[in-house]
């Protein structure tokens, strides 16, 4: 039997704080893991688009288009920084268009351009304007699409969203700490008489603060463990629903390891932060 000198488990603050902390940790962890998810999924997407160019050769007649294609491919092979250039098969183009235009339109009657997918090696910088000028020499109607311009805009937007998500996560955690601090002050008022007795028999502020911080750590660990566990279940549920709805994102396996670390370490981090903020609040009050 080793009961705490302060009956912290029974006060109103003790009943109210874990619920708030569990909710905050649930929201914060979910927000943080989805931010991580966005970072990982946009990383592979960004990498893919920053090394891709698309080239379009209009088809006037089959024979001249084939010649143009050969000349273009030869030029591309000579251009430094290009890893490979592959013409998109006609059937693939037709299927893609069919999907966009619907079954009513017969795509066989449409004149489809030759599309060449260019993959850059990513190590050397490709001089796109010079390449475009060389292509225009072959045929002025050749069109080179560099996705990097709009990709930069979308990427900027995603990074802003990630920053906002991180700020929200930090604010949620700060909210949890502020709640804990206010609850501690309430607790100090509730247990004023017990604290007075402890002080009169020679208890140091550190001795009293230790009781509060031990309780805060235990409460924080349980509450944030529940919050993090629920966030894990929600996250798995959302991934499952996304998968079923056909939105399968490409993320590396390292993401799942990192997410698992977040779910495991957030309770520890929250409990430790609560413990420190409670100690700080108690010591400040007692020293006054």
């Amino acid at each position: 039997m080793n009961r705490q000198d302060l009956p912290l488990k029974n006060d109103i603050a003790a009943r109210f704080v874990p619920k708030i902390v569990a909710l905050m940790v649930y929201l914060g962890t979910l927000c943080f893991v989805f931010t991580l998810f966005m970072v990982h999924s946009t990383e592979s997407w960004e990498k893919q688009f920053s090394t891709q160019l698309t080239l379009e050769i209009p088809t006037t007649n089959k024979a001249s288009s084939a010649v143009l294609q050969t000349r273009v491919l030869q030029l591309l092979q000579r251009t430094p920084g290009i890893l490979n250039a592959t013409p998109v098969p006609h059937k693939e183009m037709a299927d893609l268009l069919q999907g966009l235009l619907g079954e009513e339109v017969n795509v066989e009657h449409l004149t489809l351009p030759i599309v060449i997918d260019i993959t850059l090696n990513g190590k050397e910088i490709v001089d796109v304007p010079t390449l475009e000028a060389h292509l225009k020499n072959i045929s002025p109607q050749i069109h080179l699409s560099d996705h990097r311009g709009w990709q930069n805009q979308v990427s900027g937007l995603i990074h802003t969203s990630i920053m906002i998500a991180l700020v929200v996560t930090v604010l949620i955690l700060l909210g949890a700490l502020v709640t804990t601090t206010f609850a501690t002050r309430t607790s100090l008022l509730i247990h004023r008489q017990v604290i007075e007795v402890l002080s009169l028999i020679g208890a140091t502020p550190t001795y009293i603060a230790n009781q509060f911080q031990r309780n805060a750590f235990k409460q924080g660990l349980i509450a944030s463990g529940i919050g993090s566990g629920l966030a894990f279940v929600t996250f798995i549920g959302i991934l499952y629903l996304m998968e079923n709805a056909g939105f399968s994102a490409t993320v590396r396996s390292s993401f799942f390891f990192e997410a698992l670390c977040v779910f495991l370490f957030v309770p520890l981090f929250t409990a430790a932060s609560m413990m420190i903020s409670v100690r700080f609040a108690v010591m400040k009050e007692l020293n006054q």
Binding site: R3, D5, E196, V197, L200, I201, G202, T204
Partner: protein, 229 residues
């Protein structure tokens, strides 16, 4: 010459907006001394004791406790000074959520002494004050006299350098009052200085110790009565 534990020089006190309780109080408590603080109700006995356990600052004068001036010392020193003082409060100040063994052993826990050892010592003291049968009882279930004995056991468990008791026999019968007086005397023989605030005539007449009489805002020291052979 005995070592002086506490020294009051021209001490006075006045509550904010209230009248002056006492003034020019000068006395000292020597190591191993035994004194009674007596006087009519409202004369300021409790306030004087509160100054001794550093629960009240004087309005005038100076106090030295264990060589420290409480008015200028660092707040960090305060708990360590209080650890040298045992106090029996008039209103007991027991913690209702702890049983009496836990209450009595509390000062030992504060000192960092092992809990089991603390409980053992607390049980011995509780046996001694006649509460052997209710170790696991909680304060709300005890009578006033029982609470008083628990409070005394808690105050003496650390064998403090100075024991202050505010009306320690206020809730016990004469037989228990004399028994408690013997308890204080035994503690005193072990070197603890004792100051008991009381107006219990029986206690005052049963003892041959010095008396500090607080009356009309001033303190009069009455030397110990001579023992008749």
């Amino acid at each position: 010459m005995s070592e002086v534990i506490a020294q009051f020089e021209g001490v006075g006190h006045q509550y904010e907006g209230g009248s002056e309780i006492f003034k020019g109080v000068t006395f000292d408590i020597k190591k191993g001394s035994f004194q009674f603080l007596t006087g009519p109700s409202g004369s300021g006995k409790t306030s004087l004791l509160r100054m001794l356990f550093l629960g009240l600052k004087p309005t005038w004068g100076s106090i030295r406790l264990f060589g420290e001036d409480p008015l200028i010392m660092s707040p960090n020193v305060l708990p360590f000074l209080r650890q040298k003082i045992g106090v029996v409060f008039q209103e007991f100040k027991l913690l209702d959520h702890l049983n009496i063994v836990e209450n009595v052993s509390l000062p030992l826990r504060v000192l960092g002494i092992d809990t089991r050892q603390g409980y053992r010592q607390a049980q011995e003291l509780l046996d001694w004050v006649g509460l052997a049968d209710c170790h696991k009882a909680y304060p709300p279930s005890l009578s006033g006299g029982q609470k008083q004995r628990v409070a005394i056991a808690r105050a003496v468990i650390t064998r403090p350098h100075l024991l202050l008791a505010d009306e320690p026999t206020g809730n016990v019968d004469d037989e228990m009052a004399i028994k408690l007086l013997h308890l204080f005397e035994e503690l005193n023989k072990m070197g603890t200085a004792v100051l008991i605030a009381t107006h219990n005539r029986l206690l005052l007449d049963s003892s041959y110790c010095a008396q500090l009489l607080l009356r009309g805002g001033t303190l009069i020291t009455k030397p110990p009565r001579r023992m008749h052979s």
